[in-house]
Structure formats: structure tokens, C-alpha cells
Amino acid sequence: MKNISSTVQAINVLPGSMAVYDRKLNLLASSKEWQSGVQFELAQVNSSKSDLLDRFDASLKEAFNFDTSYFVEDLPAKKIRYKYKFSKFENEVEPLVLAQRILYTKPEEYRKEELLKQTNNVAFIGFWELNLSTKSIYWSEVTRKIHEIPDDFEVELETGINFYKEGADRELVTQVIDRAIEYGEPWDEDFTLITYSGREIYVNAKCQAEFENGKCVRLLGTFQDITDRVLKNEQLRISEEQFRLAFENTPIAFLIIDIENFKILEVNAAAEQVFGYSRNKFIKKKITDLYEPEEFQKNYLLIKNLLHQNSRKFENEQKFVGKDGNTILAKTFFSLNCDSKGIPKKIIAQIQDITELKKKNDEINRFVEVTTNQNTRLINFAHIVSHNLRSHSSNIGMLIDFLKNEKQEEEREMQFEMLVQASSMLTETITHLNDVVSVDINFQEKEEVNLYKFIENGIRSVRGLMVEVNFQIVNRVAEDFRVYAVPAYMESIILNLITNAIKYRDPKRRSWLQLSAERINGYVIITATDNGLGINLERYGDRIFGLYKTFHQHSDARGLGLYMTKSQIEVMGGAITVQSKVGEGTTFIIKLHEEN
């Protein structure tokens, strides 16, 4: 036992938990409370508590070297925290250390602090503290983790500051620390930090200054890694910028629409171009104001349905009305824009003007139709030509064969007569074919003609026949009714309709033909109705307009007239249809474009 001075011995009777150690860490003296508390606990130390013993010894040694030291011990079960405080003092012979254990926090405070610590760990907010009186820095576990420093890294003011990126960031942090120390100005700044491992990250640091007697003693604050947030914001900024560029530069009109009242909230430049309205005019309108009246109902329901659909989008073709009352045919894509909770807030309408495209497409389709028609006609024509020419030529060949061998004069005469007949029929067929071809080949320009006068001329040319068979023709067309047509075709069409009606009249009745014309939706509709024999359309159908198709036992039926009529009408861009009932009569309806 060493010689212990009486001063040290006095500890034995002092209140509180304290003890005195020498440099060799021998316990020289201790209070009653120490003996029953700390000493008892240290003696009880098992493996799980060895940490306490280590920290105790370490702090004790530290105090011999640096005059003071401390550490805290958390006892979560008891919700208390002890502070072990070590202070060096000089005895007569050697330096000694006084160890004290102080109840550091009351249970409620302990809980608050613990909660804060937990929160900070979760939020990954670190603490830092700069003690100006000791010139020491304290970094919490999170702060250390953010800096990525190893466990044994000792932080000093200088090394701490060096983590800030050289240049503006380091200058700023130095500046704000100086100002806080000098004027007590709190700060809250974002910095770029280069971590211990060399990674560039973004941090936020906040600072409060503590003053004692007009002098700053301590700076303390929080420290947070905000790299993810900064990067996300940057990404968001880039994608917003990209969207804005696309939004402004796309040829597709974008309309952003309020989901509640269908009001237009925002439009892009393309929308102004497509519809002709300025942005200011747009935002006084609803999307439904832009529809063609007949499209309104359908699209209103589609938009309403958006909210109830799973897909939350639809695409279709819609018709809008532009500023000048023009129809805009558009391919549209409607989708819902939802907030972060997935609740729909806005409708985004993408409207692609396809009016011109559609027009061109229609033109091409019309052209294809005309070409296909013409092609079909030509194929049929080729076969008919071959058929008819062949039948005449084979008859002629056959008759010549007979004539070569025929001895009987009477028979020869008959065969020769037939040969003449066959020859003239061949000539006639060739003439017909020439007529047919000329319709397709020699296209003539349309002119504005007076339909009434053309009909009157047609009637005049068959007047003799009309009187002979007691046939009546009624021209109900207005005297000034004009139509765009190729004059020669119009003449031929009318004459053919008239002669057909006379040819296929019902001899049992007083026969008539009535002609009329009207304008409907951009078309001229010419109607020719008779009370003739009529034709069984179920049986003959489309063959009625076929070349060399005849349906009545009529000696002068050639099967050419209606074929020619149809060709001439089609070449003028029109169409002809027929309605008929056997025993009642026939109506031909011709449709021509009103405009040239």
C-alpha cells in the first residue's frame, strides 16, 4: 500500500461518486458511492460490458496526458446516461487523476436525446461541434460517415475544412465560420465536398453560434448528405428542360386541360399554329369548344371515360374547328397526368393535324380507284375484243371454206350473202370498240353546259320515233340548270337514256320518261325514270352496265349503250346507279361533281 496523502483520503467521506487513480492506474481512494456503484459495476463486468472497462482505462490514461477527459455510458434500460469525468491534479509527489461519475441526463431528457439521435440516423443528419475554448472538433457518427473517414481519423479544424472542395466552396465555408464566430450569424449552406475516399458529394451544413460573456465559445450545427436530392433535382431539371423543348418545338399541338372543367390551361406553339388561336384566346376556351358539333358528344364521353378507364389514355381521330371555321382532321392522343399520389389532375391532349395528309391520301385513293377501274375495264375490253373479233372472223373463215367447195348456185348465193353480213358486223364491232376506247383514251375537258338544253336537243332528235310509238318525255330540269360535263359525253348519255327508255318501253302501257336534276351536298343528281319493262336486277345485277350484255330479246340490242354511258360518267368523275322493277319501270341516277 502506497503512502496516500490525507487530502486524497478525504475522498472517502465526500458525497458523490468519485475516486483517485495514480499513473499506474491504481485506485488510491474512493467515495462510498463509488465503491457501491462504479466499483461494483466494474467488478461485475462481463464480456458484454468489457467495453466500459476499456473506455474507462482509455479515458483515465487520456486524462494523465491531456489533463481532462470524459466519456458517457448509456443505459437504455434505465433510460439514463452517466458521464465519466477525469481530471488530472498534482499531488506533492506525483500527478493523480480524479475520476467522477455524474448522472448526465434525467430519464425524460435521455429519451428526447435518444429520439433525436434515432431520427438523425434515419434522416442521415449528422452533428458537428466546434469548441472554441479547446479548439476541438466533434463530429457525430453520421457526420463521420458522410465524410467517409476511417474510425481512427482525428478531426481538426484545418482537416475538417479541407474536405470542402477547393475554391468557392472552401472559401464560403471559411467565410461563414468566421462570421459566425465574430458576429454570431447563423448559416445554412449547400457545399460540394470531396470525401476521404475522393468522391464528390453535395452536403448541407447548418450552424448556430453560442456566446458566453460576449465571446463565441462554441459553434454547433447539423450536417447532411444531399447528393441524391441534388442529382434528382438536376435530372428533373434536365428532363423538364427536354420536355419544354419538345413541347415548344414539336409540330404536334399540345393542350394541357383541367380535368374538372375541361378548360385549356396551357398550349404550345404548334397548337397556336394548328388552330390559329393565340395562347390567350386558348386559355379562355374549353377543349370541348374546339370540336365540330357532330363530334362533340362522342369525344366528350371519351374524355369523361378517361377517368374511369384503367389505361387512362385513348387515341383516335377527331375533327376540330379552327379559328377560321376550317375543319381540322387530327390524330389525337389523350392521356391523364397524375400527381405524386396517382390522382389525375390534368389531361394532356396531343393533336396531330392530318388534314393535308388525309387530303393527299384521299387523292391517291381516288387515283388508285380510277386506275383500278380503268384497268378492269381494259382487261374486260381485251377479252371482249378478242371474243367478238374471233366470232366474226371464224364465221367469215367458215363461210369461205363452204364457198370453196359449194357447187349449188342457190346455196352459194346464200353463203355469199352471209359473208357480206359477217363482214359488215365485223366492221360495226370495230367501230364500237373504237368508240369505247376513245372514251378512255381521248379525255376531253369538262365545260359548264346547260342541262335543260341538252335534254331538249336529245328529245328533238328522237321526235319522229316518239310520235310513231306514242312515247312521252317530260323534261323537269330547270331551264337554267348548269352542270360541269364533257359536252359530247353529256349528249351521248342523254340520248342513250332516251333511246333505252323508248326501246324497252312496255307496249301495253302509254309510255313515258321523266328527267329531273337537283343539287345535293356538292353533287348534281340527274334522275331518269320510265314506266318501261323494267329489269330483274336480282338476276342481272351489275351486268347491266357490262359490255355486250343484253337482257331483252330485242333485235337491235347491242349491249353497248349502258357500258358507254357508265364509262363516260366515270371518266367525268361521276357514278351511275339503277333501280328497277320488272313490269313497273326503271330509274337511272347519275351523280356528278357540282364543281369542276
Binding site: 377479252h383 378478242s386 371474243h387 367478238n388 374471233r390 366470232s391 371464224s394 364465221n395 373463215g397 367458215m398 363461210l399 363452204f402 352471209m418 353480213q421 359477217a422 338476276r539 355486250y548 350484255k549 343484253t550 337482257f551 331483252h552 330479246q553 330485242h554 340490242a557 349491249g559
Partner: protein, 131 residues
């Protein structure tokens, strides 16, 4: 050589009918023949003969392109009446349109498709195939 008892010509071309009749005489083709100017006439008369149990033709030479009722329509209507097996039908036409030949093959009652002009040799081989 045996003659065909009764042959039937359905054709609207009077010159062709004149010619084939003459050739039939020259080749002693048949004892008697019937001539119809279109499908409708042929259909009416033939169904009447069949119903009455009269003499039915062994051969029908059928043109395709005819007014009122053409050869196709005749074939459709006539085959619907399920005519006696001993009637053989030949199509005799000026048409060399492959679509017509293809269509003719769809009628199993049509035995052959002959393209005009018809010759004495044609008629003789038709006769041989039947007798």
C-alpha cells in the same frame, strides 16, 4: 357409223348456227337437232321435254355470250333441275378468256370446252366420244 339421235345447239349467232347445221349434215352428225337462240329458250323447252318424257338430246352445244340468259346462267338453272345423265354438255365459245375456262371446270356436268371456229374434225371427234 352410228348417228347421234338428237343434238341441241344453244347460240344466238345465226351465221354460226347456219354453219354448224351444214357441217353436221356433212358429217352425218345426228338424225335431228334443236336450235335455241339463248339460254332462256333452251331452258324452257328442254325442261318441258324432260317433264313430258319426250325425246331428250344426247348432246348440248352451249354458247356462253348470249342475250337474255347467257350460257352460265343456263348451266346454273339447268343443273338445278338435275337433268338425265345421258345428256352431255359441251361449251362452244369464241372466248379464250382463261377466267371462262376456269369457271367452266366448276360445272361437273360440262364435259368439254371447245373454242370456235368449229371444224369438221372437231365435230367428228365429238361424235366419236358419244357413240
Amino acid at each position: 357409223m352410228k348417228k347421234i339421235k338428237l343434238a341441241c345447239i344453244v347460240d344466238d349467232d345465226p351465221i354460226f348456227v347456219f354453219g354448224i347445221k351444214k357441217m353436221m349434215k356433212l358429217t352425218e352428225f345426228c338424225e335431228n337437232f334443236l336450235v335455241f337462240a339463248n339460254g332462256q329458250e333452251a331452258l324452257n323447252s328442254l325442261t318441258a321435254i324432260i317433264n313430258k318424257g319426250g325425246d331428250i338430246p344426247q348432246l348440248i352445244l352451249l354458247d356462253l355470250n348470249m342475250p337474255v340468259m347467257d350460257g352460265w346462267e343456263f348451266l346454273e338453272e339447268f343443273t338445278k333441275t338435275n337433268p338425265p345423265k345421258e345428256i352431255t354438255i359441251y361449251i362452244l365459245t369464241s372466248s379464250i378468256d382463261p377466267r371462262d375456262l376456269k369457271r367452266a371446270k366448276q360445272f361437273n356436268r360440262v364435259s368439254n370446252y371447245v373454242i370456235k371456229p368449229i371444224t369438221i374434225e372437231n365435230l367428228e371427234s365429238i361424235k366419236n366420244s358419244l357413240t
